[in-house]
């Protein structure tokens, strides 16, 4: 029984999440799907599991059409998806959560232990001992994931999709998970693994498929691949020269020595890093997500403290945060109001404690025109804008203050080509006009196109670009 995706396309607004993607998943194989953020892996899996309806294309399981866009029907056909974010009820016990997954309808019988039994037995066969009466909120993350897996193992589902299952696990938990994956494979099921850690894929997957920017790049047995080829498939050909035509003459701006920053949970997110920011220069921080970039960016932007803050931080910072819908924009407020977040610092837009509404409106209208933001007017709700236009609001606002320092985190993530070019152009211009720019990006193309100097972050530490060769293949021209 093969699971086949045929010529699937799917767009979210103007962003093409999937373009004409065809992949076949064979039973008895662990098939890894790789790609950078926004490559379309999750969208493809959402299509296969019925959570998203594609714009075109079809999917077949054992020659039978999958009811696209109907998650419940897909589950009934035996396609189970184990989500990155767990779908457990924290206040319920282990048994209750397992029973919930088996509940056919609200009217069906509800003997918890009866319903949960097959899942608990599946767990015992794997050597997992979960206390059925323990409350889920008291479990560790690894245990929660096991529970999530058991929910799908209770059925004899022929297809099990794991959405980045290792992201939250400790190393020994990862090993344990892989043991289970292999076992499921040996039972003859189709195991699909979404991931972006290459080393893990090399050790567990039998076959790998790579997506890039919504397109299929390649599929091959893992033993015919190595990390270098996979990296190249994932990020594309590395640009050989910096495309910046006339790099300015950098001037010293601020240097940081042995900077350590803690994350939200008190863990050390950035460890002992030293670097220098210069005016008229874009300093690029590359590396895979979650290695301290966000924390460092927030520190530079003045949104996060460090224990020993000895640096005088510039007052005038333009910040383009990682997630425009969470940190960037108040979605229920208007475009003008979202611009006012920064605009209130401009002396010409305020009088004492008062906002000068007429001037603010004129200013916002001007920004909308200058940045070509497609919107009815400054009074439109920001939440109603497309992703690209939302990002333009963030960028226009960040640069409106003529900041001395611009901090940008993945400023073009999820944008279409035109919007991407536009945002990059704006950052380059800010730098040409004398700002120091700190660019954090997981997109190597962007890093090489924009940054005059490049550093890489791994595990909260910085590496010079040439020392990162081992990780990314050849990065120096």
């Amino acid at each position: 029984m093969t699971l086949e995706a045929r010529r699937i396309s799917k767009a979210y607004g103007s962003v093409r999440a999937l373009e004409d993607v065809s992949v076949a998943f064979e039973p008895g194989e662990i098939h890894a799907v790789l790609g950078e953020n926004g490559a379309g892996k999750s969208t493809l899996m959402n299509v296969l599991s019925g959570f998203a309806r594609p714009d075109s294309g079809e999917a077949l399981l054992g020659g039978k059409q999958i009811p696209l866009g109907q998650a419940h029907e897909c589950r009934r056909m035996g396609i189970e998806m184990i989500h990155q974010h767990f779908t457990l009820v924290p206040e319920f016990t282990v048994a209750e959560n397992l029973a919930l997954a088996q509940l056919k309808s609200l009217a069906s019988r509800t003997d918890i232990n009866e319903l949960a039994r097959s899942a608990i037995e599946a767990g015992q066969r794997l050597g997992w001992h979960l206390d059925p009466s323990a409350k889920v909120r008291e479990l560790s993350v690894g245990m929660e994931q096991r529970l999530e897996i058991l929910k799908s193992l209770a059925t004899e589902a022929p297809v099990i999709i794991f959405d980045e299952p290792t992201a939250v696990l400790a190393p020994d938990e990862v090993e344990e998970l892989f043991r289970v994956l292999r076992r499921l494979r040996d039972e003859g099921r189709i195991v699909i693994l979404i991931a972006h850690k290459l080393r893990e894929i090399m050790s567990v997957a039998d076959r790998a498929t790579v997506l890039r920017l919504g397109k299929w790049v390649g599929s091959a047995p893992v033993k015919e691949l190595d990390e270098r080829i996979l990296t190249q498939w994932m990020v594309g050909d590395l640009p050989t020269v910096s495309r910046r035509e006339q790099p300015g003459v950098p001037q010293p701006f601020q240097s940081f020595e042995a900077l350590t920053i803690r994350g939200d949970r008190g863990e050390i997110a950035v460890r002992n890093v030293s670097f220098e920011l210069r005016r008229r220069e874009v300093l690029g921080f590359g590396g895979v997500d979650g290695n301290g970039q966000v924390e460092l960016a927030e520190y530079l932007a003045g949104a996060r403290k460090s224990q020993a803050t000895t640096h005088i931080r510039p007052k005038n910072v333009g910040y383009i945060p990682q997630d425009r819908q969470v940190d960037g924009l108040a979605l229920n407020m208007t475009v003008q109001e979202n611009m006012t977040v920064v605009g209130q610092r401009l002396p010409e837009l305020v009088t004492g404690p008062f906002l000068r509404m007429r001037q603010i409106k004129a200013w916002a209208t001007e920004l909308i025109r200058k940045f070509d933001i497609r919107v009815r007017g400054p009074e439109a709700r920001v939440g109603a804008l497309s992703g690209g236009n939302q990002q333009k609001v963030v960028v226009s606002r960040a640069l409106a203050e003529r900041p001395e320092l611009v901090v940008a985190v993945n400023p073009t993530r999820g944008l279409d080509l035109k919007a991407t070019q536009f945002v990059r152009e704006q950052l380059r211009r800010a730098s040409d006009e004398g700002a120091a720019v700190a660019l954090f990006t997981t997109d190597l193309d962007e890093l090489f196109e924009l940054a005059d100097r490049r550093l890489f972050m791994t595990g909260g530490e910085l590496r010079e670009a040439d020392k990162a060769e081992a990780m990314f293949g050849s990065t120096t021209p």
Partner: protein, 342 residues
């Protein structure tokens, strides 16, 4: 927007009709009595406006706090503490015979009431910012503390005479708010409340502080990313909110009550919640919704005078309004469909 408000008013009328019917009162006769009590003559209008005054002020208090993401349910406690602060000052002036002309005493009494309300709200705000205590819980509980404080004060230190009924000393006529007509309750507090609605509208929509309060309410993370201290703004929202509720208490005290008893607040702090909700958290529309609820109040008092229905009617209608609005919100947020991210 206007359609929505009309729909809400129509639904309220329907609810009122059902309630009258349940009480066994002829519906049309009931409506007539209520309309008469709320707006038949200048006395009726005076009653409506006087009821609308504390409703508007506590309603504005809710608007500011809720806009800042602080779900203040403690208007009642802040109203009471405002009255208490004011009464304490009056007691000092009267017992120590400090010569205070009304032109000084009246503003002082009102300022102190606002201060009292602000202090009470600040407690809840501080607990939230420093300790993460849910504002809904802390403000509700602080209401009970305030009620006990009031009971203690009027039976103890602020009691007029040890043997009398538990009431504070009545303030002299000169310290009461100005009235255009001695035969009516209408007092200058109505104007103060209306002015406050305008002041709050300017605060929320035309000042940096008010803007940042709204930003902190909409998205504390956006505020943080832009170096705006969301906690500070939320604390400020609580202070302004508490001051408004306290001022409502002060105006009730020197406009209507003259003295405090254990029944000083007729749930004015709680009734500010439906006023704020019906206005859609808009300070100017709050004037209309306060007027509407004030009319309901005055009308149902008239109804109570002529029929078997007590003034409880108003609470039923208001509770119905709150439930309706809450249900509508829940229904609307349920319809939001989340598309999975790529």
């Amino acid at each position: 927007m206007i359609l929505k408000a009309l729909g809400a008013i129509f639904a309220l009328a329907l609810l009122l009709a059902l309630t009258l019917w349940a009480f066994g009162i002829p519906v049309l006769e009931g409506f007539r009595l209520m309309a008469e009590g709320a707006g038949a003559d200048k006395f009726a209008w005076s009653r409506t406006l006087v009821k609308a005054t504390p409703l508007l002020l506590t309603g504005l208090g809710m608007v500011v706090a809720w806009r800042g993401g602080m779900y203040n349910i403690g208007g009642e406690g802040q109203f009471i503490v405002g009255g208490l602060f004011s009464a304490t000052l009056a007691e000092l002036i009267l017992t120590r015979n400090i010569a205070t002309p009304p032109i000084l005493a009246i503003p002082l009494l009102l300022i102190l009431s606002a201060l009292g309300g602000a202090v009470w709200a600040w407690l809840a705000g501080w607990l939230f910012v420093r300790r993460g205590v849910d504002v809904v819980i802390s403000t509700i509980l602080l209401n009970f503390v305030a009620i006990q404080f009031l009971a203690y004060a009027v039976t103890g230190p602020l009691r007029e005479k040890p043997d009398n009924v538990p009431l504070t000393r009545a303030i002299p006529e000169a310290y009461m708010l100005w009235r255009p007509d001695r035969q009516m309750d209408l007092h200058a507090g109505v104007v103060i409340a209306a002015m406050m609605a305008i002041v709050i509208a300017i605060y929320l929509y035309r000042t940096k502080a008010g803007f940042n309060v709204r930003l902190a309410g909409e998205s504390p993370r956006v505020a943080r990313a832009n170096r705006i201290d969301a906690d500070k703004m939320r604390l400020q929202a609580m202070l302004v909110s508490g001051a408004l509720c306290g001022l409502a208490g002060g105006i009730e005290y020197i406009g209507m009550a003259r003295q405090l008893g254990t029944g000083f607040s007729q749930n004015w702090g709680f009734l500010g919640i439906p006023v704020a909700l019906l206005s859609g958290l808009d300070p100017l529309l709050a004037m209309l919704s306060a007027l509407l609820f004030g009319a309901l109040f005055a009308g149902s008092e008239n109804l109570a005078r002529f029929t078997s229905a007590g003034p409880t009617l108003i609470y039923i209608v208001q509770a119905g309004a709150v439930l309706g609005i809450v249900a509508l919100r829940a229904f609307r947020s349920r319809r939001v469909i989340q598309t999975p991210a790529t």
